[in-house]
Amino acid sequence: MNPDSARLQELLALTARGDHAAFAEVYDRTHAHLFGIALRMLGGEHVAEDVLQEAFVSIWKAAALYRSRIEGQEIQPMTWLIAIVRNKALDALRVRTRRKETELPDPDDSADDGNTHAAIAPGALELLQQATQALQIQDCMNALDGSHRQSLALAYYQGLSHSEVAAQMGAPLGSVKAWIRRGLDKLKTCLAAQGAVP
């Protein structure tokens, strides 16, 4: 485990015991990266800030639930934090989708509605390519068809559902489900070959 991860583990353990200074350091060390993830998924600063706030309140309450190992498998603290932020962002996206389907728009959301996902650079596929390059699995992942990688990237970086990916790519829903499934399988295979995650 690298020193940053070891320190984050210590800080989460202290946070779990009610140490607010440790919690503040967790925020200092991670908030910019976590906010970037939320912003990338949600597209608007205000809603991303709300998600970050909810995520950190959850982290404060649930720091004791962080486990450095599950069934012998090491769990990086940053992985745990990213999962919390992504789950909060996914909740916010699904609420937004339901609201758009059933209600008139909330005037409070208007400021964020101008920032659509498509307006954010770089694009989801480019982010996936950068990540796979950094992980040294680019060649392995490039064996996938471009549409498979694109659908996986849209689902991961923008939090789109199957039907939203299908609409954005103009592809049949069944095809998109299969593409994402194959993309995930390939990612698992490529990372396992690197010895990164089983």
Binding site: G18, A32, E71, A131, A134, L135, R181
Partner: protein, 244 residues
């Protein structure tokens, strides 16, 4: 028995972490995860795999107001938790996470007594909408040593303000305590008399949203006149945070 198939569990875990499971399936899978270690491990492995893809997302600094809001909420929770662990009393009933809810209930009771027509409001819907605290303005005021003294809360679209004393407050040698709102871009204005013990509710002249939207700070001062035009000696202060 369907979930006995490790391949299916792995597929569901991948969809859960990616976020592509439908809402009902997501809820079912979360229940399954709570009960089964193998499912929990499958989720952890997918969180590790997909979490690695996040490294290409550029970090972005959020507004400082995010931390101010987080700090206000978590410090208030910590103090309530400490009080409930140490002394018991009524806070034992609400645990660590329900300060805003209690304020909301107090606000609703007061609102019902003062203006029944306003009782059916979006505030109440928010208040009862589950684990999330209602949209509120909250201030945690401390003394110069950082000891918590006063918790102030008001529902976002409500007109009732609740003040609860959370640490011992010595009465001033002369005069009385007044709570002030300090906007970022204007003069401070008085919100009312601050209590020395217990909690109080008072009716604001307008909704919190209109009065407090630009307020960044709350202070308590010692005043010797009945209606002071400007804040006197500050004894407690804290940030005013939005809970939404």
């Amino acid at each position: 028995m369907r979930y006995a198939d490790p391949r299916l569990v792995d597929q569901l875990a991948a969809g859960y972490v990616l976020g592509t499971l439908a809402p009902h399936a997501r809820a079912r899978f979360e229940r399954l995860r709570r009960d089964r270690g193998d499912v929990d491990l499958a989720v952890a492995n997918w969180e590790a795999r997909l979490g690695r893809l996040a490294q290409s997302v550029a970090p972005v600094k959020p507004s400082p107001r995010v931390w101010r809001a987080i700090e206000a909420r978590t410090r208030a929770l910590a103090m309530l938790h400490a009080e409930s662990n140490g002394g018991g009393r009524w806070l034992n009933l609400v645990g660590t996470a329900l300060a805003g809810l209690v304020a909301g209930i107090a606000a609703s009771v007061a609102l019902f007594m003062l203006a029944p027509a306003l009782i059916v409001s979006t505030d109440q819907v928010a208040m009862h909408s589950g684990e999330r605290l209602p949209q509120s303005y909250v201030g945690l005021l401390t003394d110069a040593k950082g000891d918590g003294k006063l918790l102030v809360s008001s529902l976002r679209r409500g007109k009732v303000m609740t003040m609860k004393v959370i640490g011992p407050i010595a009465p001033p040698a002369s005069g009385h305590l007044v709570l002030w709102a300090v906007p970022a871009d204007g003069p401070a204005f008085a919100l009312g008399a601050a209590p020395l013990a217990g909690s109080t509710t008072s009716l604001l002249p307008d909704t919190s949203e209109k009065l407090l939207a630009t307020v960044r700070k709350l202070v308590v001062t010692v005043e010797t006149v009945e209606a002071p035009a400007a804040p006197g000696q500050v004894v407690f202060s804290g940030n005013c945070a939005k809970l939404w």
